[in-house]
Amino acid sequence: MKRSLFSRILPYLFIAPTFVLMAIFSYYAIGKTVLDSFTDSAFGMKSHWLGLDNYVRAFHDEMFVTSFRNQLIITVTTVFNSIFFPLLAAELLFFVRSERVGKIVKMAFVIPMLVPGLVVTLMWKYLYNPNFGFNTLLRALDLSGLTRNWLNDSSVALICVILTGFPFISGMYFLILHNGLNMVSGELYEAAIIDGATSMQVVRYIHVPNLKPYVKTIFTLSLIGSLSGFGQIYAMTGGGPGYATMIPSLLMYKVAFGDGQFGYASALGMVIMLVIVVLTVVSRKLLKTEE
């Protein structure tokens, strides 16, 4: 069937706005960052070509290396928490027989999603306050010896940041898994029940294999999210005390907007992006071959 010229260019017209926006705010950003990363570009100054100096500096920058170690710890725990806890909640809900309770619980996990994340983060910050919060609880339990200035103590600050948001049930990830469980064909369950399968066996032999695509989705989303975001740590500790909770993207932000060193910050940004691309591609490959 011959298609008119109009219907042949229509798809390109449909995607044009998307690509215009991406060209200005994404592709240009990458191009500019690549170029800047080879210069000493700074706020309001003429820049000079430096070659690879910024990159050499980055790999000798103790702060940057430390921040990657912190990021590794944060990312591994975040990805685990983003899968484990929503999955636990979805599985527990699956075996709840009352439909009304099921609906209420489902809503209960989704509603907190609508509370601004910053607000929740700051509530946790108050809980970690040296004068009240968890310390109030410890004093009441006669454990005053354990009280401390949680976010200002470099031996525990990173753990406190990681524990923020416990029990880590994100409404979106929970829904993805919950829907995943309900997509599994009902016949499978009936067969299992006739065979007298226990709930653990249902989980092991029906849920685990059927949930893989959903878990993969969450794995990728939480991996990218954890590597890319830095707002929570910015609001909580600002990377401190010292560099105990510093992560690469926050360091980059501080180098750029605190010190005005756009060139060096761009080099840091390129290294971060390279790590994200490599990790995403590698993890997708690994997850694919598993099938």
């Binding site: 527990l92 609508l114 829907n179 975001g229």
Partner: protein, 278 residues
């Protein structure tokens, strides 16, 4: 799951754990409500205790400084949302439903943007906003938001349109509907659930953002967004009255709850469709 089983110890334990998880999820929010109804002195002295007398003054005072920023946030989110839904439905439909040369490559160019770290875009985009003369105006937020937030929406919408039954479009084609009519008469009206899902997702993300506003909105408090004011307060600029601040938190949360509560049903459905593709 047809047969009813007897209540076992296992099911009791499971239910207890489930409700414990719900309680812990809500704990910071309950604490926030409790704090907002107490005087600041009482918060420091009796952190977890319930208020002896309800102290509404917090809300009166908070309303005065947080009303304008909330309005700003809603204005920015609303305007961006319209733009996002437009580009998302167009691109999602093109990638999910239409045939054209270079589709695969172009779509992977969209997906690749997901991997750009947020921090990396801040510096160059700041430069763009300055060059466009948008600094300290709401457009400095709106246009980059449309660009950044469309990606996830396109991925969800692509999956949604791709999985729509082809017969619907086939029937329209036989009736003589062109590609554009098929989109306007069939694709768009049926995509309501996925557009609502995308809408909630992006509005929450934009309402929540404080990094980008803190870079491009540096003028007076009357153009700042809700989360910006909240962050400034928490950073020690402004009041240190926790009762007042938590009351402001709650006032800022209420609009999102009201706006989205009628749409949550669709959000729950919509997440089902696009989830696997991501």
């Amino acid at each position: 799951m047809g047969k009813k089983k007897k209540t076992t110890i296992g099911s009791v334990i499971r239910t207890i754990i489930l409700f414990l998880l719900v309680f812990l999820t809500f704990f910071p929010l309950l604490l926030m409500i409790n704090m907002s109804l107490k005087q600041n002195v009482m918060i420091a002295n009796d952190f977890f205790g319930l208020p002896r007398t309800i102290y509404w003054t917090n809300y009166m005072k908070a309303f005065r400084f947080i009303f304008r920023p909330i309005l700003n946030s809603l204005l920015v989110c609303g305007t961006s949302l319209v733009g996002i839904l437009m580009v998302v439905s167009l691109s999602g439909y093109a990638f999910g439903r239409m045939r054209f040369k270079g589709k695969k490559v172009l779509y992977s160019m969209v997906l690749a943007v997901m991997m750009i770290p947020y921090a990396l875009t801040i510096i160059p985009n700041y430069g763009v906003v300055v060059k466009l003369g948008l600094l300290n105006s709401f457009w400095a937020l709106i246009i980059p938001y449309i660009s950044g937030q469309q990606i996830f929406g396109i991925i969800l919408a692509e999956a949604f349109f791709h999985e729509m039954p082809g017969e619907l479009f086939e029937a329209a084609r036989i009736d003589g509907a062109g590609d554009l009519q098929q989109f306007l008469r069939i694709g768009l009206p049926l995509s309501k659930p996925i557009l609502i899902t995308v809408g909630i997702q992006v509005v929450v993300a934009m309402y929540n953002d404080y990094m980008w506003p803190s870079v491009v909105i540096t003028g007076g408090d009357d153009v700042k967004t809700f989360c910006q004011i909240v962050l400034n307060n928490a950073a020690g600029k402004g009041s240190s009255d926790l009762g007042l601040i938590t009351a402001a938190f709650i006032l800022g949360t209420i609009p999102l709850l009201i706006i989205t509560q009628s749409c949550l049903k669709y959000y729950i459905q919509g997440m089902m469709v696009g989830a696997v593709k991501g």
